[in-house]
Amino acid sequence: MSGALAFTSTEAAIVYASRMMEEDRLYFVAIGGPPLLAILLSKHLRTPNIAYVVEDGTIAPEMPIPTPPFMIGAGLASSRAVAWTDMNTVDFHAGLGHLDYGLLAAVQVDAYGNFNSSFLGDDYDRPERRFGGPGGATEIAALCWRTILMTRLERRKFVSQLDFMSSPGFLDGTPGARERAGMPAETGPYRVVTERAVFGFDDETRRMKLIAIAPWTSVAEVLGAMEFTPLVAADLARLDLPTEEELAMLRANIDPTGRTISGEWISLEETGGRLRRADAGRAAGVPDPHTARAARRRAT
């Protein structure tokens, strides 16, 4: 059994997202956060020739590692770019189809990949909890060819009804829904990445589909941690554990301050080739008796 046995939920999500990066592609990210770290991790471990464009107009920078603290307020984050432009310019480049993937974080996501980064509650004017806002996610999710979302797998995050749709997925999932809303054709959400499950979207129904899970969890546990029920792929894949190499690069060079990669600790224990959470009690979502057994089945 290869792979690390202790990492945070954020580290796991970053690692899984980083493994999706395709060489030679151009990515659109916000300034800082797990999506940018996923790109940097892949760029330094697997795909040296991916490039990214940042919302502030920075095009294809080569940020040195270890990365600077407080990246969002560090000039070094824009260093050795091929061009320094501005927000409108890079949005236009996305609108013209030059940006292959948008990589984004979400607070709440629904079955069609629509997501919320604005607030939780029933009343926009009196939020129970207010967040920073859509940022650039709405244009990135509309204009890039494919969108990859990152979030935690929790019932309060995978919801049947968003409190607010900050950014578009497949809207109501009907054919042409995005085009009818004025968005470019052939675009939309591609993956939703969490610490223990990865989702795609069904080509016809546009509904979220579970396509891979971590070896220490089960389909039942995953579904139990969601308010809506996604489709489940027949050929469900297994997410290899984050490797020591990935975690070392992430901790030492990509987020040396540890500010962004902090999250819930996931500790695994192995007994006779059987992999389970040592802290299963603290697992998010609904407690699931089948967890251990399911994981055992899968691990053998």
């Binding site: 502030d56 604005s118 806002g133 859509p134 749709m165 578009p168 085009e179 004025g182």
Partner: protein, 332 residues
Amino acid sequence: MAPANRGKSIAIIDEGVGPYKAPDPDAMRRFVRDHKDRRLRDKRMTERDAISRFVSDGAYVSYDTNVWRRGPSSLMREIIRQRKRDLWLAAKFSAHDATLLTAGGCVSKIDVGWMEVGRVITEAMQAGRLQMYEWTNGALAYRHLAGALGVPFLPLRYLGGTSVFRNSGAKLIEDPYTGQAVCLVPAVNPDVALIHVNQCDMHGNARIFGPGLAPVETAMASKRVIISTEEMISTDEIRKHPGATTLPYYLVDAVVHAPFGCYPGTVPGLYRADLQHLMEFGAAQLQGTMDGYLEKWVFSVASHTEMLERRVGLDKLNLLRAEETHTEGYYT
């Protein structure tokens, strides 16, 4: 001569229902004609004079970029110091600047793309003191571009179908050229723009180094433009390198010489951000002691210079400069 196509029309498929600052390109033009200067004039003044002359209560205020990076922090502190009220902010990728202005009691409305949000903003909203209008970073930058182009709206290919659209001033129409759906967003012409730059001459010819949000669009779109600058340079230097100019003088109303004007944020190539200060701010917000923070950093000092001298100190300033070792692309 009779129009060839009288009676034709463009279908409005859907419209948002949110309040927004309504565009009026002709009013903007008249303001420019009657209140702005086409002659090269010495526009240097103190932050106090610039804010008191050009920022009035109720003004729609836009800034670029933010308190974390090349933002007009000293001008924002002066707004708080002068206890301006009822401002409407354009928070296109803002930071905790909106929080500070709100804590200072200066803000009643925010068009938000993204901004730092904590207790101050949430509590102000829950108390009904603060009204937010949801946009996005790009949509706000784009509305400023529309204002800069002197047109009432621009088409764009996002927002449609979202809650943002529903609560905004955007419209979804059937494009008369392709027959496809396309959004329109209204132009915004802020009453005043606050822009921090690297270099500027006395007339307002300004240079910005590094990536930006929308400094050019913001300056062009705004009725009044207040520049704070790290460095004053001569007009002769400006004329020697016209390609280096970001903003020409006639867009600008006031030039404030403000070294460390973005403090506690960074001006890349000049000085790094003061993370210690940012933590002090964060703690003050968490502990609900923003009044103390504002007293210390704004009200108890008469000016930006005094704040730097008495609250930051030369040693810290020198350290922040010394530790900004990466100047490539900015000053080298």
